[in-house]
Structure formats: C-alpha cells, structure tokens
C-alpha cells in the first residue's frame, strides 16, 4: 500500500492526475476557509477568509527569492573548496 502511494507521487504516469488532485485540494481549502467560524479571531487578518492562502504563497515566494538573492548577490554561497 505504502509503495503504491509513494509511486503515485513519484511516477511520471500519474503526473496529470497528481496535478488535478493538487488543485482540487487547494480549491477545497480556500472554500473551507470561507465556511469556518471565526468568532475567536483576534487580529484583522484572521478575519479575512483566504488570507492564509495568500500569506502562505507570499511567504514561500519571499523566502525563495530573498534567500537566493542573499546567496548569490550577498555572497553567502561559495564554492565548495572555499575553506580548503
């Protein structure tokens, strides 16, 4: 069973099905976010449905590009023999 699940995520033959499932999950999460109750929300953003999706995506993009910028332009990434 485990092999089949792992295979589903690795094998090229399931690529299209995988993609469809992924988008379906994304859509379900956003829809569910509109339906849940928010009476305990303390901050403004917590009251906005779909905020977490935007913030998650934004965080991911910021982290990738800020880090790579620091790595390449900021000089953090060096050749492997740098300390040799």
């Amino acid at each position: 069973m485990i092999e089949r699940i792992v295979d589903f995520f690795g094998d090229e033959t399931y690529a299209i099905r995988r993609r469809r499932l992924f988008y379906l999950v994304l859509a379900l999460i956003v829809v569910a976010d509109f339906l849940v109750s928010r009476e305990h929300a303390e901050y403004l953003w917590e009251r906005l449905p779909g905020w977490s999706a935007v913030y998650g995506f934004g965080s991911c993009v910021i982290l990738i590009f800020v880090s790579k910028f620091l790595g390449h332009q900021g000089g953090l990434m060096r050749r492997e023999d740098y300390y040799d």
């Binding site: 792992v6 295979d7 999460i29 569910a32 339906l35 977490s52 935007v54 965080s59 060096r78």
Partner: protein, 586 residues
C-alpha cells in the same frame, strides 16, 4: 523502596560494561538501559534529592518537578529510539559515547545547582564531540575540533558566569533568575544561548552535525539544543530579549535552508529554525508560551530524530549526502520515503501530526500576548519549514532526476526505530492529551478548531503551490554557505598567517641580527675580556706580586747579619741626613 533512581547514573555507569559484552547480549543491553531509564522517569515523584554541601556551597544533585520530568521523558524515549537505530554498529565506541551523552543531558535536566549542571554540561560537549570524531576523515575531524573548541569556550563562559552570579547572590542553586539580571546572569545566558544555537552563536551546529556519523547525528539532533531550551525555560522565562532572538532564529534557519545542498546541513538549519520557536516561547514567558515551548521541544526531538534517521538511511545506503547527487530513490526505498514524510509533516505542523498541536501553541501564545509581528514572522517560518523539509529535501532526495543509484531499504533496526518515531509523531498529533497532561502548567488550548485547521492547511498547501511554480529557482547548487563560523575559521587562518608570516619573519629578523651582529660582538668582547684578563689584569697582579717578591728578595739580601755592614749603612745614613739638612736649611 527506592523512590528515585537518577536516570543519568543508569546511562553513565551503564556505559562502562558495553565494550565487554558479546554482540547479542550487547544489543539486548543497549535497549534495556533506556527502557529502565524511561521507567525510572515514569516512577519519579517531584522533590529534591541528593542535597549536600561542597566547598561551603549547597549542592542539589537532582531536583524533580514537572518541567524536568517532561524533558526527561522525551530524552529517555529518544535514547531508546536512537539506540535501536544504532544497533547494527559492530564497534562499541559510539554506543559508549551516546550513553554518556544521554546521561549527561539527563544530568543537566535534573541538576538542582549550577555546579552539577556545569559538570554534566561539559560531559555532553565531550561525549557528543566523539560522535563527530568517530566519523573519521579529515573533514569530520576538523569539524569535531571546531565543535569541541566552541563548546569548551561556551562552557568556560558558563563557568565564569556561574562564579560571578553565585558570588553576587550567595547561592549556587539553579532556578529562575528574575530580578537580579547582573553581569553574571548575562554570561550564563550567553553560555545557554550558545548551546541553543542562537545566531550568531549557531554555526557550530550546522558545521558539525552533517559531519557526524549517521547514527551519531540522530542523538546530536535531539539533546544539546533541547537541553539548552530546558535550562532557558528554567532560568530565564519571560526575558524579552529571547522573544526577538527566537523570532530571528526561526527565519534565519529557513533562509539558510534555501541555499543548502547537503541534506543533513539543511535539516540542521531547521533545528535552528525550530528551536527559534522554543526560545521565543520561553521569552514570552506566559504559562501558555512555556507550555508551547516545552511541548514543541518534546515533539521536535521525535520528528527531528526521524528526519535525521531518514536522511541518515539514505547516506548509509548510497554513501551520498548532496542533493545534487541524489534523486529517484523512491522506487527502491519507499518505506524510508513514507517514514521520512511523516517527520516532514510533523515538523511542518500538518493537522494530525505532532507539530500541529505544539508549534501552534507557541504561535497562539504570541498572539495572546499581543505580539502580532512575532506571530506573523513565526507563521512565515512555518511556510519555509514545509518548503524545505517537506518539499525541497524529499523532492531532490527521493524524486526529481533519477540518478540510477543502487539502493535498497536500510537495515531493519533502522526502519524499526524510524517507525517508532513516526508512530509517536502521529499519536501526539491525533491525541495530544497525554502530552498536554505532562506539561508544566495546566493546558487550556485546542489546536483543532475549524479556523486553525483551514488556516494551517492554507499556509502549507499554498506554499506547495509556490514550490511547484518556482521549482527551478530552488534547484540545489553545488555550493556551501557562509555562516558565522567564517569568523573563527577564517580568523584562525588569519591568526596562523600572522604567526607564520609577520611574526615568523620578525622572529627570523631578530635571530638574524643576533646571529650576524650581536653574537659575534658578544664573542669578540668576551675574547677581548679574556685577553684583558690574561694579559692586563693578570699581568698587573703578577707584576705587583713579582715586584714584591723581588723587593722582598732584595731586602732579604740587605739584611746580611754582619755588624760592619750595618755600621757602614748607619754612617752612610748619617752622611745622607747631613747632606739633606745642609741642602734644605742652607
């Protein structure tokens, strides 16, 4: 009836017979001792044990309360899992080191005074360094020496702080430092922060852990930083500085993880990030925040152990550790993939995995304490955690480009250990009650509200969307990243350059001058002195002696003993006197 058996003793004394046991008996023994220690922790009653007096100071070998019991529980569980993971090793050295390491960590957890704490603290440093040395090879040995140097320096700082602090407060007892944050307390804090890998004191961790042995790294990922979290929670709850250091840490580790190519170094940066949540929780210091930090440490030890075990299994089987050299292993190692992913979901705080019920408690505590910025930063770090440990690492290690590596599942004991950790990660996530019951304060927190579940899933799955879209930008690169170890690695090199070039040149110039000018001058003047002595001084002395001798001889000849000679001399004298008088008084 013995109501308290110190589990540190079980491990440290228990390490002694390991080298002398036959293989099958040794395997049973290695599992038995952690089990006994776990039972000893379960049977513990809160209280103080082993109070004594040493050099006029109060000593308390073991102080048991709710906080120490939580940490001791997870430490003994992890010791059991780690030992099972390491059972296939045939040489006993690493087992002995691991036992001493775990024992020392437990010693710190129960230490009631600073002196006991310090002794076990140093024990941890040396025992864990062995796990890096044991890997062998130049890179590992160098990293191990750096690791040891950093920890010994931190230990010396801690000892200095302890002496100053105890001189100021008059007590060595280890407890909350609330009102009197004197200079000693700050130095103690610095020693603790070093072991917690708080930037800029973090680089020892990401430098050494990837160089450790496959099984050693599993122990290291669990004990050193979490012991530091424990002592912070014990001594410095509610210290404002920790909130900000922890928040920075959480993001710092995530940023570096983007750049990393070595699989265990990436995971090591995520230790920095996750410990950031705990440090921030301790800094916030409310009951909920300390509960959050403690429970997150508990969950972290298990899922981080699992992640290191997964990466270790890949290294054990393929001998490779760089993401640029790995890929396509999912067909040959499906069980490892699945077990690793359980750890990845747990660290990313997916619902029904352990991180979800612990990490969110820290974030919620930040929210309750009206720290919106901290809350947002920690949420952003969660996105980064899933991005790296849940998506990037497994993608490039197990899926991605198929490098046609020969691989199979790791030895069965490794899989069993990973299975145990995975089961606990899921059990805590599904049924957090027992863990919550262990925490130092009563828990009034429910992670499973509709809004919290959809919010977490939104953050995580849309991070996955970003990953899918920008996959190319995340391709690992064949590089290393500069961290604060640059200062001591390059600094040491600069020092060596200073010693070898300018200082050596100066030394050579000085010795040249002394050889070409000073020494010949000294030789010459010594020779001249000798000549002067022989010819001058000795000559004068000899001359005087000789002339006295001659004078004496002459005088002796004058005394002839013949009366006519004396009469003649007297007549000559009278004539001479008359002549003188005649000349002078004329």
């Amino acid at each position: 009836m013995i109501d308290f058996v110190h589990p540190a003793l079980l491990f440290i004394l228990g390490a002694v017979p390991i080298p002398f046991l036959k293989e099958t008996i040794r395997k049973a023994y290695l599992v038995l001792i952690p089990l006994l220690a776990f039972l000893a922790v379960l049977a513990m009653e809160p209280g103080s044990y082993g109070a004594a007096s040493f050099i006029g100071q109060e000593i308390l070998i073991a102080k048991v309360d709710r906080l120490s019991i939580v940490f001791a529980t997870v430490f003994t569980i992890m010791a059991l899992i780690g030992m099972i993971y390491a059972l296939h090793l045939t040489r006993p050295g690493q087992h002995v080191a691991a036992f001493v390491y775990v024992g020392s960590a437990l010693g710190v957890v129960f230490a009631g005074d600073y002196l006991t704490l310090y002794l076990f603290w140093e024990g941890m440093a040396f025992a864990s360094a062995y796990l890096v040395f044991a890997q062998g090879g130049e890179k590992a040995v160098r990293a191990a020496f750096r690791y040891l140097m950093v920890h010994v320096t931190g230990g010396v700082a801690l000892l200095g702080g302890i002496l100053v602090h105890s001189a100021a407060t008059g007590s060595l007892l280890f407890g909350p430092i609330e009102s009197d944050m004197g200079p000693g307390a700050y130095v103690i804090l610095a020693g603790f922060l070093l072991n917690a890998a708080v930037p800029p004191l973090n680089a020892w961790l990401t430098d050494a852990y990837p160089e450790a042995t496959v099984t050693g790294a599993v122990f290291m990922s669990a004990f050193t930083t979490k012991t530091a979290v424990y002592v912070l929670a014990r001594a410095f709850p509610g210290t404002e500085l920790l909130v900000w250091l922890g928040t920075v840490m959480a993001l710092y580790g995530v940023v570096y993880a983007v750049l990393e190519n070595d699989c265990r170094r990436l995971l090591a940066y995520h230790i920095v990030s996750q410990v950031g949540y705990m440090v921030a929780g301790v800094g916030i210091g409310t009951e909920m925040a300390v509960n959050g930090a403690t429970s997150h440490a508990f969950a972290h030890i298990l899922y981080k152990g699992l992640l290191f075990m997964g990466a270790g299994a890949v290294i054990h089987v393929t001998g490779r550790r760089k993401l640029t050299e790995l890929g396509g292993l999912y067909k040959t190692m499906p069980l490892t993939v699945a077990l690793y992913m359980v750890g990845a979901f747990a660290i990313s705080a997916f619902p029904f995995f352990s991180g979800f019920v612990t990490k969110s408690m820290v974030v919620a505590a930040a929210g309750q304490d009206h720290r919106a910025l901290v809350m947002l930063a920690l949420t952003m770090a969660s996105s980064g955690t899933f991005l790296h440990t849940g998506l990037k690492l497994p993608y490039y290690m197990f899926f991605g480009t198929d490098r046609k590596l020969e691989a199979q599942e790791p030895p069965r004991n490794m899989l069993v250990a990973m299975g145990m950790a995975a089961a606990l990660c899921i059990a805590i996530g599904v049924y957090p009650g027992p863990l919550y019951a262990l925490l130092p304060y009563p828990v009034d927190f429910d992670a499973y509200t509709g809004a919290h579940v959809t919010e977490s899933l939104g953050i995580l799955m849309f991070t996955a969307l970003g990953f899918v879209i920008f996959l190319k930008a995340l391709d690992p690169e064949n590089t290393i990243s500069l961290d604060t170890d640059w200062f001591y690695r390059k600094g040491a090199r600069g020092f060596m350059w200073l010693a070898e070039k300018p200082l050596a040149r100066y030394e050579k110039a000085v010795s040249d001058v002394s050889e070409t000018a000073v020494l010949p001058f000294l030789h010459g003047s010594a020779r001249a002195g000798l000549q002067l002595d022989l010819n001058g001084v000795d000559g004068v002395v000899n001359g005087v002696a000789r002339s006295i001798l001659n004078g004496g001889g002459a005088l002796r000849r004058l005394q002839t003993g013949v009366v006519t000679h004396y009469a003649l001399a007297m007549i000559a004298g009278v004539i001479a006197t008359i002549v003188v008088f005649a000349v002078v008084w004329r």
